[in-house]
Symmetry: C2
Subunit: 161 residues, 2 copies
């Protein structure tokens, strides 16, 4: 196997999936809006209040997330009110659950301060704590250093050995 | 069990671990610098080049990541040169591996375009593809909707039912 990790200077990374993901969700407010969507928030005012940002910032990020396909807008109308929209995660958005869980785990462990985290996530079926972890398709836990990087379909081969 | 997800309007989220994590790594350049550290990059010039940012941007983010405890600076000196520093992930930094793996998975799936991802990560021991997933401490895979949020040590109880 040609492990790309063996010599980082021998290859250029283009079309990086981490960078591509961060182009969409690589800012704090967008990720916190996605967090709120997972926590059940659907309405514009609630996103702004609960994320703690201005209405203009919330509007900008909600529009970006909708345009990217992470949220979808649905019309609703309360009695006597004009039609408004609420926001829900698409399948693309709901798959960010692993990213948010990993961020929460890391924040619980390294950035929650002496007060500890505000909540614990547990498995509904058995009550045990929930976390994100790295496994291979055979089900093995993959430790640090246990991963090999192989060239994929879009790897730029300029300068590769 | 009091599942906080049951009524998002009944509680305020303070000291959120996701937000706390994003205070440290919630911008694109910082996360790509951490990606590079995992890929073996250690030197200032290489971080700037491989992330594709100006030296001043790289310097600012490397200083922030070092100050936060994610990277550590180590002195080195090449023959005939002045002493310089290289950067390595601390344990705190290396635990971001799950976040990066989750971002890469998501980017592979939703944001890599028709060209496909530039590389595949496989388990060194068995050759199978590596990914991030959500499990509980008993080892069960936790599906969407399979998580319950319980109040933790620092939850703000204002307005809670």
């Amino acid at each position: 196997m040609t492990d790309l990790l063996h010599d980082r200077s021998a290859w250029e990374l283009t079309n990086c999936s981490v960078a591509n993901a961060l182009d969409v969700v690589g800012n704090r407010v967008s990720m916190l809006i996605v967090r709120e969507a997972f926590l059940g928030t659907t309405r514009f005012d609630d996103f702004a209040t609960r994320v703690g940002v201005s209405e203009s910032s919330a509007a900008k990020r909600l529009a970006e997330l909708t345009s990217a396909g992470i949220l979808e807008r649905r019309p609703y109308r309360e009695p006597g009110q004009r039609e408004r929209h609420e926001y829900a995660l698409t399948r693309m958005g709901s798959e960010l659950r692993v990213v948010l869980t990993a961020l929460r785990d890391w924040g619980d462990r390294w950035a929650s301060g002496s007060a500890g985290p505000p909540f614990h996530a547990v498995h509904r079926a058995c009550g045990e704590a929930v976390h994100a972890e790295i496994r291979c398709r055979s089900g093995h836990l993959v430790p640090l250093g246990g991963t090999v990087l192989l060239p994929g379909p879009s790897r730029d081969t300029r300068g590769a050995t």
